[in-house]
């Protein structure tokens, strides 16, 4: 499964970067969303995938039986998802404010700081 997901993540990154290179600010925001998802998935998959072994210790035991998924990338990605949401809300509001002031949806017209 990993190679397939690796290809999928590559496509996600490509899509994210393509969108971030657009001049339209809304497309930039969508690119940002794609990028954070792609990055999360990248971390998750890079540690290797495990089927049917959630990182939980069964009640009354000291350590899980058998192979469990690597918990560390999961912990990293968990916070990353929430942070990405915080950053996204920040970016979205920033874009909205910029648009309200400049009234330009073209990044090229936002170059001057004095408008």
């Amino acid at each position: 499964m990993e190679p397939l997901l690796a290809v999928a993540i590559g496509i996600l990154f490509a899509a994210a970067i393509y969108m971030m290179l657009r001049r339209s600010i809304v497309k930039l925001v969508i690119g940002l969303m794609l990028l954070s998802n792609a990055a999360n998935l990248l971390i998750f998959v890079s540690a290797g995938l495990t089927r049917g072994g959630p990182p939980l210790v069964p009640q009354g035991m000291v350590a899980p039986e058998g192979v469990v998924a690597d918990p560390l990338p999961q912990a990293l990605v968990l916070t990353a998802i929430v942070i990405a949401f915080g950053v996204l809300s920040f970016a979205v509001v920033l874009v909205r404010r910029a648009w309200e002031i400049v009234r330009a949806d073209d990044l090229d017209r936002m170059r001057d700081t004095d408008t």
Partner: protein, 775 residues
Amino acid sequence: MQLAVLGGFVVAGMAPLLHRWFGARTPQVMALLPASMAIWLLGQWPTIAAGEALLLEWSWVPGLDITLSFLIDGLAWLFAMLITVIGSLVLVYTGDYLRGHRDLSRFLVVIVAFMMSMLGLVLSDSLVTLFVFWELTSITSFLLIGFNHADLSARKAAQQGLYVTAGGGLALLAGFVMLAAAGGSWSLAELMERGDTLRDHALYLPLLLCLLIGAFTKSAQFPFHFWLPNAMAAPTPVSAYLHSATMVKAGVYLLARLHPALGGTETWTVTLSLVGAITMATGAFLAIQHTNIKKLLAYSTVMALGTLTLLLGLGTPGALVAFVTFLLAHSLYKGALFMVAGILDHETGTKDVTHMGGLRHVMPRTAAVAAIAALSLAGLPPLLGFVGKELMLESALAAEHYRVPIVVLAFVAAFLTLAVAVIVALRPFFGPPRRTPRTPHEAPPGMLVGPALLAGLSLLLGLAPGWLDALVAVTVAGLGADDHEVHLALWHGINLPLVLSLASLALGLAVWRRWDRLRAHLARFRPLMARGPEAGYEALMAGMVAGAEWQTRMLQNGHMRNYLIVTLLTLLGLVGHALFFRHAPSLEVPLDLYLHEAMVAGLMVAGAVTACVMRSRLAAVAAVGIMGFSIALTFVLFSAPDLAITQLLVETLTVILLVLVLFRLPRFVTLSTPTERIRDLVVAGLSGTLVTLLMLSVLAGERLPRISDYLVANSQPQGHGHNIVNVILVDFRALDTLGEMFVLALAAVGVLAMLRFHAEESDAGRTPAQERDDG
């Protein structure tokens, strides 16, 4: 002592407060600080005289072997004495020179901070602390030179001084790191005992070169000499201090300090003596071209620094004795002469010696002081300068390498210096009185006490040089010439140095007689001089500015996608290079696949691609949502329940957020040309491919032992939790989580701030944009 130095910085910071309490008396009150340090140092003299070094230990960062230890041996003691004594006198002098100046307290802050940095520099035992203090002197002297910051030339001079010395500081840092690596210690006391290891070390040449660049820039050696005369833009007490006891001597101090560890090799001898000799002659030659009294003195300082470097380069016991004597003599007379120059400037309102004359009638005491100090500068008996110069000529005559050019250069420097001395001391005070911008009076006592004391010491020690024997002996011993009998005397009998001295006296007087005509002749060489090292510096700075402008135009042009493309291509190049040429990636990852998993992945990709091609915002957002839910499904399939829940919840909240914001934003429009789109597609495609390859090679690569094994094994026993992910979040790596909490809070505060400020500004902000849209 460390406490005293660090406390000195605190006192410096308190200068404005002291100024409120003591008013115009503040400089004199603050002079008590260096004065008391000088008394403490004097109290240590018996220990120093016994040839013992005082090591005051104080560890600063023990883990990195960085100490704030002070090492007081003969050399450090001599420098510290000069710094504190001349520092006190300069402060007293400042009291009258800058009386009523509105920035007096700012001046005091900086000059006391400078004094303390300088003291820390000469006393430090650790290379790290030495470097810190070294840079502090660069910064504080920058502030001092640019004290009259409303004056363009002062700002330029300050910048020049800073760039040259701080640039040298970088080389010095590299040199120090290599020195510590080669010598295996950061402590100067230990390095001094490992001279043999250091001299044979493979790093010897590069580290020596780096250290020399650092020391030469600081001490204004050729070809870095040009910043020093320009630094004359500083107020005169600063010039007196910078050029007599401190800043410029820091480089000389460093060379002297490292002499036992690094000196004695042929590279050392040849470089130092040649650079020293050239600097000496250049300084003296440039001096006589100027009529500004401070410039004259500044170039003669360059000459003196060259002399000191030359003597260290020669490195024989005799040369070292000459070094110490000359150092002391120079500090005394140069300090006095600068203060006299300040008096003249203060009283007459001009700095040009050709505009002064006959001042001995109005200011006889100043004239007397000037005459004594100038005699010492000229190297005439019975002053300390004479003793120093005789020893210097003697050492030059005994040079092993390049004896003839060194002696010639030393001789040229000697007679030109004599001319300078005569010009400075005679020109303003003798001859017919001239009208000056201000009517001169005798200097106030506060301004006379400093130069008088220094000049008096020059005379006294010149008459009885034997008093210095012990000090010179102990310092020279610290420089690596053990058990050398030191006996200074005014009269050495008739020998070659004396003959040279007499010849230089005659030539110097001749130069003085024809000074005006000589200057006219020399003026013809101006175009040639314009091509000197200073022109090189100017060209370099101009080139840097032009380069910065060019790269700003090219790279920082305000188009965000250009930044992105440049960053991405750089990343692609570097990572791609490492991946293919360093690692030869193996991409053999087993592909065990279930149909439903493949469908989820397909859905994810379809969502992402659809989001890119959709022309409606709603459809694009929905497509991103599909991708998000497929990712959540992936988390479910591969044993990450927490992630799946989080992803689902965040997707929901994202929809709410986008509903609130996105639809207030403009519709999609196509803005880029087909060519641009193809270019972007290529960049995006390459980046995606690289990510895929990178992941495959990571997955195929050998697994390092997982940190997680520890976490899995200890989650229940130590963390008392069954959900390992949660235990990691709130226990094992809770500090990370705390940081992430702050990030989240910051994002929320940022959102709030943008929206709240918006409410107040929106009217003001919208008008011009609307106007432009209309137009």
